[in-house]
Symmetry: D3
Subunit: 146 residues, 6 copies
């Protein structure tokens, strides 16, 4: 049972492409709800708060339902794990130069009862505390939400 | 010092887009060497061997220089960590339905002495041992190589 | 917003108490659906399959809805992480002497829209490959499901 | 060689049951030394200090023997790993609402030369930085001490 | 309270030096009990069994006391974590070319009640599944035992 | 293809031996470039900065080439993982009493095209937040650099 609507891939594209590059995917994006935002620090509390605020402000998740926040939270953690590539306590050691995130919510499966899922993607460059130490990073997390 | 040529982003696109979707990126791909392949199992030894064989057969890395294999190896491990999302021993628990990988080698930085770097990306669906448990996964790893 | 019905605590009790010891909790258990089972190996695939089979056979989760299996799966992984205490690849190194699991599904929160959640607990003794190396282990995982 | 006195299970019960619920276990608790305490923050330094202070004040471990503190310390780390469920740097991201810990010391095995062991359990609710994101968590660690 | 007898450093030296290089340390080694051995595979079960067998055969630990085996076991796990450098499931991916281990038992502290401690060190070259991928690796674990 | 010059072993020896103990290795050290330094805190940002500053001041790596800093950075992370023995967020919980590091750069392999590699080793005593909780720790990381 492969997903019909690849919300993970769409989150990747929204997080990493320029507006112009994203144009050919306009049609596919009509099937989902999504928003983007930026995280200017690798402090995990701040990143999580930034993603959550964006998700609520853009009505991707319902503000006062804990269950939806919980689903988003675990998707964010999964995505950050990819960004960090499993390094020990790496978050505290990073100076971020620029990280863009995308949140995509949709119904990936044909079957109605599979309900809605949420994908979170981060793309950008991260830098170590040492000046100049900076390369691309990416992370994706997916969770059921509806 | 942000990368001029985003080899990571290119690896992500090559691993996840269809040929048609990839067309607008043809020009950008002229600046790098790249190849793709498929991994039909989550056995880590087999995935690493598949990526390495593809990299050598397509002359992305030099066959008999250990240093290049070593660089590729750590990029693969970083990418797999994203695919696995840090779950304990998850590799052994997975039934893969389909994972496509991309290897991209290039000179991301303007400065000549920064030399060449290598990016490895995986995209596809992975499934848990339980039938039907399957959703998208991505991973990206980057390392200096040249 | 603390849970009104502590499904995690109930899962812990069901997994570790004898029938006699569990009697005082009979009333609390009326508010949830639950079942138990045994895992006689530390092979993670087998444990996951055992828990899932028990959950379906006892109608704790709906058989053919991937979303429910996905929710259970992540709760199992969280619980196993506790059993393993974060040790590297520890699963492969273990000889289990006896592990009992409990699955509890309920509506922990007063608010209707928070829906149903699922808790998985393991309790028992685990042993290292060395004969006799064996002590108690516990793990608990919780996820939203409904 | 299964434990005769399940110090881990007793630590679980002491950390999670109300005084009334704990009454039926009074007899079993006579075989061990134990104490409890509360941790009102997820700062790991503070939690470790809180558990250690409780252990020393209640004479569960000997104050000025490093070996005993070392044994307790590793049991605490194992237990916290369960609480955190292996999430990356999760400690820094948490707002705790309430975590109760129990320390149990005893001789679980029939054989005299197996000596004393120590168990540490945490139970309570932990919350993510996002308001309302809060559910039960549990962790258990065991170590030889005497 | 720094150790008077550095059992960790002695384990390092015994695991990595040639007999000739080790000669100047003969005097220091008189203060401890130690033995060495080889591990010709990265299968963790086999490594643990090899270290434990050596420890028992050379009377570094008492054969039938579970507590001593438990102490050794955790020191081995700590040391293997260093060898593996925290990589995901790396054990299964390795072809070992040669790993030598040392087990050192002694009383590092001046204070009598601190008792005995055990150190396990591994040194050698490890190789990835790819032919030729091979460099030095080292790991050290220490635990209280007596 | 085993290394001809064991830069990892040399880094371990330089980090842990006294000047007098190191004398017999003077000849082997002529084949590599190396330097040492001290880290008086377990704050990871400070340790990384200390090692990097030492490496640049002693011309072990070239100051303004990101690629060299990147190679050193990953070797440091690998070494710190050994020091920390994979414990959760352990860095923040430590009071260091004394950690000495060594950086060794050389050409371990006979084949010219394998180029230069870098090894980072840490040795010393680390202490938990609890007063007196302190024992030896080692870590080694190796990476290709030239």
């Amino acid at each position: 049972m492969s997903p019909k609507i690849p919300i993970g891939k769409l989150a990747l594209l929204v997080s990493s492409l320029t507006d112009e590059e994203l144009e050919p995917f306009t049609d596919q994006l009509k099937d989902v709800e999504y928003c983007t935002g930026k995280a200017g620090s690798m402090n995990m509390q701040k990143i999580i708060a930034a993603v959550e605020t964006a998700a609520k402000r853009n009505h991707i998740i319902v503000d006062d339902v804990y269950r939806e926040t919980h689903a988003l939270y675990h998707a964010i953690l999964e995505a950050l794990n990819g960004v960090m590539r499993g390094q020990i306590g790496a978050g505290d050691m990073m100076r971020t130069v620029g990280l863009k995130f995308a949140i995509v919510r949709g119904s990936p499966y044909v079957e109605l009862e599979e309900g809605e899922w949420i994908a979170v993607a981060f793309y950008g460059t991260i830098g170590a505390p040492v000046k100049g130490l900076e390369h691309e990073a990416f992370g994706l997390g997916i969770n059921h939400i509806g």
